[in-house]
Amino acid sequence: MVLLDPTTLIDIALIGLSGALICLAVHFIPVGGAPAAMAQATGIGTGTVELAAGSGLVGLITSSYMYAYEPTATMGLVMASGALGAAVMLASTMLAGGFIYAYGVGVPFASAQVKKDPITGQRQDNYVSKGTQGQGIPTICFVSGVVGSALGGAGGGLIYYVLMQYYSPLISTSAAAVAGVFTMGVFYVNSVIPSYGVGGTIEGVHDPKFRRVVPKDVFTSIVVSMLCGIVAILIAGGMT
């Protein structure tokens, strides 16, 4: 049985690990959802899935670029380029969003979950408008978001790398398309699962929700991603 081969088992475990990275990434990103779009909650004003997938897919593009132009690239390099692409994508999203919150909506950036920003040490609660859950993207959320998207991009790059090892010897020219689409499927599954766990909004690593939901979400993602990994490796059997 090909599935019980030690290398295959390690690869399935790696796909499970990348699922865990993507799942963890979603918890780091300051997702505000619809309330944040009206500047009534801290974070970026769109859904978990959109942010995680948006930054992750850019990470997938940069990591596949690395793989395509440097076929001897190590796993670390592919993951790093994925992390870089995703982090740049989310940082520019947050920067543009920050400009709109600051100069368009005109709100001070403040987190409602902590009294002092853990990085800058500035008071937060004075600046939270009455009846809202904070506004804008404070420093801690920005840093947390960049770290999170880097994790997500690295996870996406890892799945892509593992799958390419299987598919490119079998279908040389189409391997990138098949591996990329499969990675996208795994990415969507793993970004929606944690979004159910956090229930729509999370501020980032400093949010009390973070500690509460991370273990069960990561556990779910590992199990589901390993299942996807088994499926991915069986697909290679149908290509010969």
Partner: protein, 257 residues
């Protein structure tokens, strides 16, 4: 107002699975059938989304449409690739695989993440299966067959059409309930909108088929446009039926009152 009876979920499940699979199996002879099968699955999937999203997911309706197609695409690739020697079994294996993945994710969502939505497991299974039929149906319409290595990979994956099918297929499934939800939501109106989103997807799939299959793609595109107009008119009529009254407000007055 009299209570209007909804179409039972089981009937829509049968409609989606049987209609979808018939369409997929007819696609090698008439490629347009694949898209028609996918529309059956879109209508079924939209109803499953409606049943689960009524409880309030906390993340918006789009997330469930995207996870559906995420699970669907994994299962579709698996089913079609693994059954290389018996291509006839491919779509059925894909639907079964999708159901298994959907069931597992639904079970975890219910018991580990603790979402407390009673229909979660069943609806997750259904939307995953619907997602896989949507992917295979539209892909078969573009490729002219559902054979993974000979038709779908060169004609759908290599040129990137699969990305379009993934995204727009997801929107076709999640948009109807996302647009209709609210206190006065009714199943009939939503199902007509699902038909119209499925058919508009079919029209653009036809455009892709024009590129890959040539003239037969035009049939898919034209039939898609005709179906879209029919379903949209039906939806339009339902909106007028359900509205208390429809009034024209005229232009904004020039001077402030």
């Amino acid at each position: 107002m009299s209570e209007i009876k909804d179409i039972a979920p089981n009937h829509l499940v049968l409609f989606g699975i049987i209609g979808g699979l018939i369409g997929i199996y007819l696609s090698p002879t008439i490629p347009v059938a694949g898209s028609l099968g996918a529309i059956c699955a879109v209508i079924w999937g939209a109803d499953a989304v409606r049943r689960v999203a009524k409880y309030g997911l906390g993340t918006g309706v789009p997330s469930i449409g995207q996870i559906a197609l995420g699970m669907g695409i994994i299962a579709a690739m698996f089913g079609l690739a693994i059954m290389k020697t018996q291509p006839l079994a491919g779509p059925v294996v894909a639907v079964i695989t999708a159901s298994v993945i959907g069931f597992i994710i639904g079970w975890f969502a219910q018991n580990v993440i603790k979402m407390k939505i009673p229909v979660m497991i069943r609806c997750m299974t259904e939307i995953a299966a619907a997602g896989s039929i949507i992917i295979i149906g539209y892909s078969a319409s573009v490729a002219g067959n559902y054979d993974f290595m000979n038709n779908i990979v060169p004609l759908v994956f290599d040129n990137g059409v699969i990305l379009f099918i993934f995204w727009v297929g997801a929107v076709a499934m999640l948009h109807p309930f996302n647009a209709c939800l609210g206190p006065d939501e009714r199943q009939k109106r939503m199902l007509y909108l699902a038909g119209s989103t499925g058919a508009s997807t079919m029209a653009i799939v036809g455009l892709a088929a024009l590129m890959t299959l040539g003239a037969s793609g035009a049939i898919t595109m034209l039939l898609g446009i005709v179906l879209w107009l029919i379903f949209y008119k039906k939806f339009w009529d339902e909106v007028y039926n359900d509205a208390a009254s429809v009034v024209g407000t005229g232009l904004i007055p020039k001077t402030e009152a």
